[in-house]
Structure formats: structure tokens, C-alpha cells
């Protein structure tokens, strides 16, 4: 196709010998094209950012009276996002006299371990289910797998109910991280709420305590 047709209308039967080669060398063109294709393919595949979906409960209007849902103290776990990527947590209800905030961080042995300790039963169930699907023990479609997992979460009644609160100096990153942690550990019920004054006071106390007793590394 790319050859330039050498004249063939020799009517007299006189055959002309081919003069040289009329082909065009296409190698550089192919080189350039493969380069461009690679570039466009990679940019097409990797430029998509990811999104994390969150759904917040509808706001309660001021003139509406809605009873807050009753939840068992024994199952609640309060997480407060603190300054400097710190996380504070305490179980149950805040009592300014008794409650002491536990301090931890976002590492794999930090808040994840705390959550995992409380959510082990459900996490195992989901983990086992996923393994069974991968190994082919349970034959299920991709779409219904998601539904099945959310059903597992819905049926769960042992895992913690996590209340997430943010102290005023926390960063957006902490917020994303903690919600991320929820999906990693497979927490069925978590909610983001406003911090109240008792908890704010507790956080201030915890920060002051940390400053008063410098950690062992400061020797």
C-alpha cells in the first residue's frame, strides 16, 4: 500500500528495470506513534481521581422536635479527632469526673487496633465471606456481593457504634482518615456528630496532661 506503484503501463512490452526503491521508511513514524499512544493510554487510565462517599443524617430543623435515637452505652465508642494527627477515644458516655481520654494515632497499631478489637466478630465474618467468594466456595455476582456484605453489617449486633467528633484544631485529613478506618475495619454503624463542651474540656485536659508529662523520648 505504501509502495509507490512503479509505472507498469509499458505498452510496448519493453520492461524497465526497477530504479531504486520507492518505499518510504516508516520506522520513525511508528516510533513516534507508539510513544504518543503510550502517553495517551496512561493519562487516560490514571488521571481519574477516586471518591469516597459519605452520607450524613438529615439536619434537624430548629422548630422540629426529634428524639435522638437511644443507643446502648456499652456499645458506643467515642472518637475525637485531636490536633497534630492525634486521636482520642473513650467508651460509653462522657463524664467529666470519671472519663479519661485514651490517646492514640492513625497508624496500623493505633486506632485501627482499637476498632478491630471491638469489631472482630463482624470483621471475621466479612473476611471469611470474601475469602469464600474468591476461592469459589460461594458463587455470587460482584454486585450482589456488595449487598451481601451490607446485609452482614446490618444484621450485626455486637460491633461498636462509633461516634466521631472533631476538635476544632483537627485537620480535614484526619476526618478522611477516620472514615477510611471505618471502611477498612468494616464498622457497621458510625456517625459523625458535633463535639460537646464536656468532650472539648476533656481534650484540653488531655493536651495539658501530655504537655505536663513529657514523653520518655525526651530524656
Amino acid at each position: 500500500m505504501a509502495d509507490i506503484q512503479v509505472e507498469e503501463k509499458n505498452k510496448g512490452g519493453k520492461k524497465k528495470p526497477k530504479k531504486g526503491d520507492a518505499r518510504v521508511d516508516m520506522t520513525p513514524m511508528v516510533d513516534l506513534m507508539s510513544l504518543l499512544i503510550t502517553f495517551f493510554m496512561l493519562t487516560a487510565a490514571f488521571s481519574k481521581p477516586k471518591v469516597m462517599e459519605i452520607i450524613l443524617p438529615e439536619k434537624v430543623r430548629k422548630n422540629e422536635k426529634v428524639e435522638p435515637p437511644k443507643i446502648a452505652d456499652s456499645r458506643t465508642l467515642n472518637i475525637i479527632l485531636g490536633p497534630d494527627d492525634k486521636v482520642y477515644w473513650y467508651p460509653g458516655k462522657a463524664d467529666p469526673e470519671v472519663t479519661i481520654l485514651q490517646e492514640t494515632d492513625f497508624s496500623a497499631t493505633g486506632i485501627r487496633q482499637v476498632l478491630l478489637d471491638r469489631n472482630r466478630a463482624l470483621f471475621r465474618k466479612i473476611d471469611q465471606f470474601e475469602k469464600d467468594v474468591i476461592s469459589g466456595k460461594i458463587n455470587i455476582k460482584q454486585d450482589s456481593m456488595r449487598n451481601a456484605i451490607s446485609q452482614l453489617k446490618k444484621d450485626d449486633d455486637t460491633g461498636p457504634i462509633v461516634l466521631i467528633k472533631a476538635y476544632k484544631t483537627s485537620k480535614y485529613r484526619n476526618f478522611v482518615d477516620i472514615i477510611d478506618e471505618m471502611s477498612i475495619v468494616g464498622i457497621a454503624r458510625y456517625i459523625f456528630t458535633d463535639i460537646d463542651w464536656v468532650e472539648e474540656k476533656l481534650v484540653v485536659d488531655a493536651i495539658n496532661r501530655a504537655e505536663a508529662t513529657p514523653s520518655g523520648s525526651a530524656q
Binding site: 520506522t27 506513534m33 471518591v51 471475621r124 476544632k168 480535614y172 476526618f175 477498612i184
Partner: protein, 212 residues
């Protein structure tokens, strides 16, 4: 034995089909490639394990830059036939008694960047000649209760395109209270579903952690 005669053909390979195929692929990728408009402010998104890709169309994005400036963008993606952007701007203008000319509306439609100017400066912003002039005007959209323009942008976006989804693209180092404020504004306008734009990171929970 008869000798196997090698043809007098040249040992070159005919690259024509290859070139044909490559041109086809190249054309395809060039045409499908979407060039993202340059962001008004650099935003380093935080990481998450979420693998859901971002939607192309029917999204409104609230950008929160490092310096707490708030930007707003309506990205109706490929379907510019519907022309949401100029309609929303016209509505905003009506609310603030600013008449935008057709040229200005068209210019606004063409620029895909996020809005970061108070509506009062919009005319100046659209008339700006270069990017320096434009960045000087980008003070961020006012979100305080005195003049909550972000709420109006959200309101009009939802009125004009009811199928719109809310996205929040915040910088990882933004203080949380400002994000909370944006979430509150969105919730005031009955948006309770958000998509936080994040970058992908892989996290595994190890066996020991489960067993402990």
C-alpha cells in the same frame, strides 16, 4: 535436489498495517482524552482506600484550598449542550442585580476552572486579560452567614440541574472547622450525600491483627 530459491524480495517488513492500526489507536486516545482545566488553587487531596472512580458529569465540586479559600465548580463534563454553567451564572447575577452580557456568559461557559471570586467581582474577573489579574481577584467565595454566596451557588446548581451530585475536594491540611462549615451549608440545602475526592492508597489488615 532442487534448490530452494529465495525470492528476490527485500528483507524489509511491510509496516503499513502497523501504522494503520497505530493511527487508529492514536486518534481514539486523543479524542477520548479529557484535558482537565487547570485548577485555580493547588489542592493535595488526602488518601483513602476507596476505589470508586469520580463521576464525569452532573457534579458540583466545592474546592477548599490550603489557605481556606473556597472555590466552586460546576463540571457538567461532556454535555455542554445543556449549558448549565451560563444558566447558573445568570441566576446568580439576577439575585445580586448584576446583568451579565451574552459574551460574558459564553466566556464563563468556556472557562472550566473553578469559581473563586465573590459574585460582585465576577465581571472584573471575566474581563481580566491574563492569569495574574485573575488570581489577584480570587479571594474565595464568601461562606459566612452575612453573605453566603456558596449556598446560593449550590441552590442554583441544584435548581438548574437536579441530578447534580456534591463533591468536596479539600486539601489534606485544611482545618476541619471550615470543612464542617461547608458540610453545614450543603446540608442546609438538603444535600446529605457527599463524595470526598481522595487519592487511592492500599491498606491491608494483617492476619495477626485479626487473630490477636
Amino acid at each position: 535436489m532442487p534448490k530452494i530459491k529465495l525470492g528476490a524480495k527485500s528483507p524489509r517488513i511491510d509496516m503499513t498495517p502497523m501504522v494503520d492500526l497505530f493511527t487508529l489507536l492514536l486518534t481514539f486516545f486523543i479524542l477520548t482524552a479529557t484535558f482537565r482545566p487547570t485548577e485555580s488553587a493547588p489542592v493535595d487531596t488526602p488518601f483513602s482506600v476507596s476505589e470508586k472512580p469520580m463521576m464525569d458529569a452532573n457534579v458540583m465540586t466545592v474546592l477548599i484550598a490550603k489557605d481556606n479559600r473556597v472555590f466552586f465548580n460546576v463540571d457538567n463534563g461532556p454535555d455542554t449542550i445543556l449549558k448549565f454553567r451560563p444558566k447558573i451564572l445568570a441566576e446568580m447575577g439576577k439575585r445580586y442585580n448584576i446583568e451579565f452580557t451574552d459574551d460574558e456568559l459564553r466566556l464563563f461557559e468556556r472557562t472550566g476552572t473553578a469559581v473563586g471570586v465573590p459574585i460582585q467581582d465576577m465581571k472584573k474577573y471575566l474581563a481580566a486579560k491574563d492569569s495574574d489579574e485573575r488570581t489577584a481577584l480570587e479571594k474565595g467565595i464568601p461562606i459566612d452567614s452575612v453573605d453566603n454566596q456558596l449556598a446560593l451557588w449550590i441552590l442554583f446548581s441544584r435548581q438548574i440541574n437536579p441530578a447534580v451530585d456534591a463533591m468536596i475536594k479539600g486539601d489534606a491540611d485544611v482545618d476541619f472547622p471550615i470543612v464542617r462549615e461547608v458540610l453545614d451549608i450543603l446540608q442546609d440545602k438538603n444535600v446529605n450525600r457527599f463524595n470526598l475526592i481522595t487519592s487511592l492508597r492500599a491498606v491491608e489488615v494483617t492476619e495477626e491483627q485479626i487473630a490477636e
